[in-house]
Amino acid sequence: MSRAVWQSVLDEVELSVSRATYLTWFKNTELVELSDEELVVSVANIFAKRQFEVKFNDQVRDILKKQGVTPKNIRFIVQSTGAQKQTVSRETTVQQQPIAVAKPKRSSQPGSSLNPRYTFESFIVGSSNDLAYTACQAVSKNIGTKYNPLFLYGGVGLGKTHLIQAVGNEILRANPEKSVLYISSETFVNDFLESIRFKKKGFADKYRNVDVLIVDDMQFIAGKEKTQEEFFHTFNALHQANKQIIISSDKPPRSIPTLTERLRSRFEWGMSIDIQMPDFETRCAIVEAKAAMTDVELGRDVIEYLANNIKSNIRELEGALNQLLAYCEMRGIEPDIGTVEGLIGNIRQSRPQHISPKQIIDKTARHFQITPVEICSEKRDKHIVTPRQVAMYLLRSELHLSFPKIAQELGRKDHTTAIHSVEKIERAVKLDMLLREQVASIREKLYV
């Protein structure tokens, strides 16, 4: 009710003053306290405070009176918005030891270390990630009740970190009183080690007294038995108290090797969603949005060229775009298709230009732990047939080999075998999540 009172004041003021005045002075104000005695309103800075005290005091009082609210005293206090406090630095220079950046952890600074840049608004939704996006939004509205834990997984540079931080930021925006803790699993490990080494208290407090715990890159916890056990207890404590847990990883829980069984089952308990490679349209949208942020308009052909040529990783896509923009700014030229072709050619050269059919077969075989000889042999055991079909599928999708050529590479005489295999895997990839991950992971290995 009290919030509504101030809102009505804002609504009325908005009509009576100019837009600029309203945005400058009234926009970031909030009601802090309302009683018969006193009305306390927080404002953005000292300038706004003075402005309210001197210029708007009477106006505010009049409007309140109309609402039937007549506090004896109206007080304005300066309170910076929560977002500012939670800003975190992202270190770009790695070769130097930061003095103050490493320290705050120990001096127990408040704040959730979320990056305010990552919001739902700035996330570009496409068919490859809309499920994850929707789930994250649902979680931010139903904290701890809807999907708990929420487990997001997908390859590098596809937006996991962006999404989970967006949840955190959204929760803080809507409920500033909630405490949100965002950490990477490495921080958790370090904190834990430190607490053991120096017999420090407060480790459990830090992690168990939050409303939302967001852990990034969970895969790094694999293999660390004691830490896993500690996380298990933390997890239970939070889950028991209906606190939200959000986890991201590059693999689904069951594919993280050396993750203890009890953690695995817990991670699979809530909702686990994968983020896929973005499709062509989404990539176009991303390029467009990023370019718009820097006030540059790109031609349709440029956008499509970028989206078409960099498919697997959004970070790389942004990098290419940045390189293009910087290049054009330095030379004072308009980004056109010619420039892009020249530049992207440069970027792509750093990757292996040619993957040979043999490499694909070898890596596929190794992934499935069979020998290249076996995969090309006549055998028809099930554990060999599937890898063989996957290899054919990859030869087709990555190298665009002809079917007769594919058959030949794998020691088959008949090209219809290849056609059948490729079609089968194409179908299966859409239905079978396990297979999809396997294909993706082989593909990733091909390009490292």
Binding site: S18, A20, T21, L23, T24, N45, I46, F47, A48, K49, R50, Q51, E53, V54, K55, V78, S80, Q84, K85, T87, V88, S89, R90, T93, Q95, Q96, Q97, P98, I99, A100, V101, K103, P104, S107, Q109, N115
Partner: protein, 367 residues
């Protein structure tokens, strides 16, 4: 409003406040300067909602009143007038300015929308009065270490605080840290002032000013000197507890003439452009020399030596030549002392005196 004022006084006030006025905020009137005449003086003021500058200019006021007027135009016009008396008159929101044969009319805006300027309440504030000399050196010595990275707002300011019954100011960007002990104090203070405000104060303060008064309260700070008042918001947040980073003991130190050290650092820096400014300082305790070395793989390399007064063990450390050059450029004394302990611990640069008031800490480069 009608008044007469000398060109010199008005030019100074206008050029100062027009730097503060900003047309970039959402409120167009902030690109204007406020002119307000009361019985005895002209008040010239502007704000960008981060800070506000107010100048009190002695003037012969014929008729009090007030108006706001675009900052840039009036300040450039008045600047170019001869050094004579200027006659200023406002009628129907137009400002008539005349001086001898020069007259001009500038369209103004009523001051209704111009924000009331905040000011620290003198009674409740923590107050310090420093000599201009002290203030200038403290600020210029620390401000160079402040960060420009807005993602960590607390590091973008200078941290004024009391510690062990002395007043200190300090700044850091995470890679270097500057700390100055200013004077004895009995009051408690913790405040982070934005660098932009301090730069403005430094620019405005005249050579013949003797004292500057600083008034701090919870959320704002006011600097008072001559007839100028600069008020600014403080940066919200906790400054990192930096004292634990200053090494208490060091293994190696040498004392060297500031100018010589600056020269060899600058020379080495020329060859370090490729490696991000990395230079290596090596001390040989047998030879009582220090050498500075840098390599540019495709260009060449450089080694410079200097004879110094040494103490402690031999050792070497790599650091960014830019940081060292900047730090050396603000040192007070002719002879400086450089201390370090191996490749990883922070280096300390101080004046070569018994109890130096200024410390500059530079983190080494990990090579």
């Amino acid at each position: 409003m009608e008044l007469e004022v000398t060109q010199e006084k008005l030019t100074f006030a206008l050029s100062c406040v027009s730097r503060v006025a900003s047309s970039r905020t959402g409120l167009p009137i902030l690109g204007n300067i406020l002119l307000r005449a009361d019985k005895t003086q002209l008040i010239v003021a502007s704000t960008n909602l981060e800070m506000a500058a107010t100048h009190h200019v002695g003037a012969k006021v014929i008729k009090p009143g007030s108006i706001t007027i675009p900052a840039k135009l009036i300040s450039e016009f008045v600047q170019n007038l001869p050094k004579e008396t200027i006659h200023l008159k406002v009628k129907n929101n137009q400002v008539y300015i005349s001086s001898g044969k020069y007259t001009s009319t500038i369209n103004g805006t009523v001051d209704d929308e111009f924000p009331e300027l905040p000011s620290v309440n003198k009674k409740e504030a923590v107050s310090y009065t420093l000599t201009t000399q002290d203030f200038k050196s403290a600020v210029s010595q620390t401000i160079i270490a402040a960060s420009s990275d807005s993602t960590r707002p607390v590091l973008t300011g200078v941290f004024w605080h009391s510690y062990d019954s002395s007043l200190y100011c300090a700044a850091t960007d995470g890679y270097r840290l500057a700390e100055k002990k200013i004077t004895k104090t009995s009051s408690d203070l913790k405040a982070i002032t934005p660098t932009a405000t301090l730069q403005e104060v430094l620019r405005t303060i005249k050579d013949d000013t003797t004292e500057i008064q600083m008034l701090f309260d919870e959320t704002q700070v006011t600097f008072l000197f001559d007839s100028v008042e600069v008020t600014s918001r403080l940066i919200d947040g906790n400054f990192p507890d930096y004292r634990q980073l200053i090494p208490a003991k060091t293994e190696t130190y040498f004392a060297i003439h500031e100018s010589e050290f600056a020269r060899i650092t600058k020379i080495a820096g020329l060859f370090a452009r490729e490696s991000g400014g990395g230079i290596t300082i090596t001390v040989d305790s047998d030879k009582s020399t220090v050498s500075v070395h840098s390599v540019a793989t495709e260009v060449g390399e450089n080694t410079s030596e200097a004879e110094v007064e040494l103490g402690g063990n031999s050792g070497s450390v790599s650091l960014n030549s830019k940081y060292l050059t900047e730090a050396l450029s603000v040192m007070d004394s002719e002879v400086v002392k450089f201390e370090f302990s191996g490749k990883l611990a922070p280096c300390i640069l101080t004046d070569h005196t018994k109890s130096p008031n200024y410390k500059h800490i530079i983190m080494p480069l990990k090579s």
